[in-house]
Amino acid sequence: MNWRALLYMLHPGTDGRPPPGVLFNSGGPRSRTRSERLRATILGASDGCIRSPQVRRLGLAFGDADPVDTAWRLLAAEGLHDPEDLRRLFALPPEPLLCRAVPELRPGPISRRSRRKVLEDLLWLGLCTPWMFDPSRPVLWTRASLTRRLEVFEGRGFYA
């Protein structure tokens, strides 16, 4: 159906002429939307003026198992009863560090890693928020904290 016929149906008696004040959009859009991805980071840089090298990548794949139960089971298997005891087993950086969430990180299943390595990551994850690692805070094991996938960086270089 052409526009003249449509107009006649809507406004009988106009002979297909647009009534005064009626305008038609006769064409397509006169502009298009352009977009561009913008990405910039100073975390992980070791060649710029600001140096914040990566210290560690953290991420554990628990499969179908409950992360918190698994963490406590591994702790007990090591003969320990409190996540804080892990501090005696692993050396931690003395100062807080910066974190970046990396959801796309795909860690291997914990069943393929040594218990000690997994416990070390569990300790680190228990000391991290999505934005920082803080060795002075208590080790907190929650589903959220243990399933985070993070990259950890030194932050001092920011004030270069």
């Binding site: 502009s31 939307t33 910039a40 807080p96 560090l97 270069a160």
Partner: protein
């Protein structure tokens, strides 16, 4: 910056009065200078108009007749309206007007000047271009201390005097520093037009834009202060009109923008400059003014922790906020409260700039704030430490390879920077692009951000290294 504003125009000795005078330029409220002859009142105001490139009129009220002001009246062709024969001296089209010797004009002229000062009108006709209304006078007869008498300098009508937002006492020779005395004496440059390369005009435009923005929601501390000060002055027998209370609040707001900080001294000086009594020959008792200020300041700023949190919010400059946090934060709880309120109240881009500058220090435990505030800063800063997003814009079908409209401005600014400053600025400005909040003047935000980073770097890390 503000202290030097007038020295750059070749006008010296006005440093103490600079915040009040600049505040009047920001508000656009009428400004009156009172001082002995030869103290630079007229020179200052004429120099400001030259520096701002204004269409300026300078009238001597003691000599002027009303026809000089409006032009010679004549009927139009239909004989239905009166028109005025314009000359270069008539007021039509003026952007700034200086009524010199306003205290020496005839009473009937004072009445006609009233509508000019009060409502930017003359003969009932609006002067649409008129932005600044300035006047100058010698101390009036009733107010002359010392040995110099100004015969004919009469008290202004209080109704006229009350229209001036800022009334500044201009110092004499004794008030000048040694360096300023030498500069004043030096005849070099006499007669040259004042030209600061547009610096004052640009600065004023920024301040005015900020003033107009802030005016929509004047900080409660300023309203509290103005209300309390006026009440206390009236209690002390110094009458201040309700209109004056409003002018005081406007001037305080403008002065805090000009000075980019809030201080006891600044508020006291603006309060003094808001009292019109000198223009009609009264001198308010200094003790009463100080007492009213003290009462208002304490009421507005509260005490202890609350007072500090208020000060933190009234500070506009990010670097001053950083310095306040590092130097005088009374407790971790106060620091946490200040950060949480700032994060929820400030504009997106300023919050982001502060978070990026502060978070690395906060994460390292170097700031007097609690875990909640560190978390708030971290949440914001995480998006800036790694920016990853999309920008989009409209492109005409007839065009290709266009850029986001803000991108050239950001690129140019980044190109002017180097080293770590450039790298940090890139994070901030790219984030602004992705979040569609690039400020109108990105360079101003970047400079403030950099100053804030410098405060944290110097006071936290360099001090630590030195120790």
């Amino acid at each position: 910056m503000t202290k030097q504003s007038f020295a750059k125009l070749g006008v010296y000795g006005f440093e103490p009065q600079a915040p009040a005078i600049l505040a009047a330029l920001v508000t656009g409220d009428p400004l009156l200078l009172i001082g002995k002859s030869g103290t630079g009142k007229t020179f200052l105001l004429n120099s400001i108009s030259e520096a701002l490139g204004l269409e300026h009129r300078h009238y001597n009220a003691s000599l002027i007749s009303f026809d000089d002001l409006v032009g010679f009246p004549y009927p139009d062709e239909e004989r239905t309206e009166i028109r005025f024969l314009e000359t270069p001296a008539t007021i039509w089209g003026a952007e700034s007007v200086l009524v010199d010797e306003i205290s020496r004009c005839k009473p009937e002229h004072q009445n006609r000047l009233f509508s000019l000062v009060h409502e930017r009108r003359i003969q009932g006709i609006a002067l649409k271009e008129l932005r600044y209304r300035w006047a100058a006078m010698n101390p009036c007869t009733a107010d002359q201390g010392g040995d110099e008498a100004y015969l004919g300098s009469e008290a202004l009508d209080p109704a006229l005097a009350d229209r001036f937002g800022i009334i500044v006492d201009v110092g004499d020779w004794d008030a000048l520093s040694d360096a300023d005395r030498r500069r004043v004496v030096d005849p070099a440059g006499e007669g040259a037009l004042t030209d600061d390369g547009g610096a004052l005009g640009r600065q004023l435009a920024r301040w005015t834009a900020e003033f107009e923005r802030e005016l929509r929601a004047c900080p409660p501390e300023i309203l509290d202060y103005a209300t309390a000060a006026v009440t206390a002055l009236r209690d002390g027998g110094i009458r201040v009109s309700p209109r004056r209370a409003r002018l005081l609040a406007r001037s305080l707001l403008a002065a805090t923008i000009v000075e980019a900080h809030v201080s006891d001294e600044l508020f006291l000086s603006i309060l003094r400059c808001s009292l019109p009594h000198r223009a009609w020959g009264e001198q308010p008792e200094e003790e009463k003014v100080r007492a009213a200020h003290r009462l208002a300041w304490d009421l507005a700023m509260l005490e202890g922790t609350d007072k500090w949190v208020h000060q933190f919010h009234l500070e506009r400059a990010l670097d001053r906020k950083a310095a306040l946090l590092l130097e005088s934060c009374p407790t971790r709880d106060a620091g946490t409260l200040a950060i949480e309120q700032f994060v929820s109240l400030a504009s997106k881009e300023r919050t982001a700039a502060f978070a990026l500058a502060a978070f690395p220090a906060a994460a390292a435990g170097k700031l007097p704030i609690g875990a909640e505030a560190v978390n708030d800063l971290g949440r914001l800063a995480a998006e800036l430490l790694t920016v990853d997003g999309e920008i989009s814009w409209q492109e005409r079908l007839s065009e290709s390879d266009t850029n986001h409209p803000d991108f050239p401005v950001v690129s140019k600014l980044l190109g002017q920077l180097e080293g770590p400053r450039q790298e940090r600025a890139r994070q901030l400005l790219y984030w602004c692009l992705v979040n569609r909040c690039v400020p109108r003047k990105p360079a101003v935000l970047e400079a403030e951000f950099n100053a804030c980073v410098t405060v944290f770097a110097e006071r936290v890390y360099r001090a630590e290294r030195a120790a």
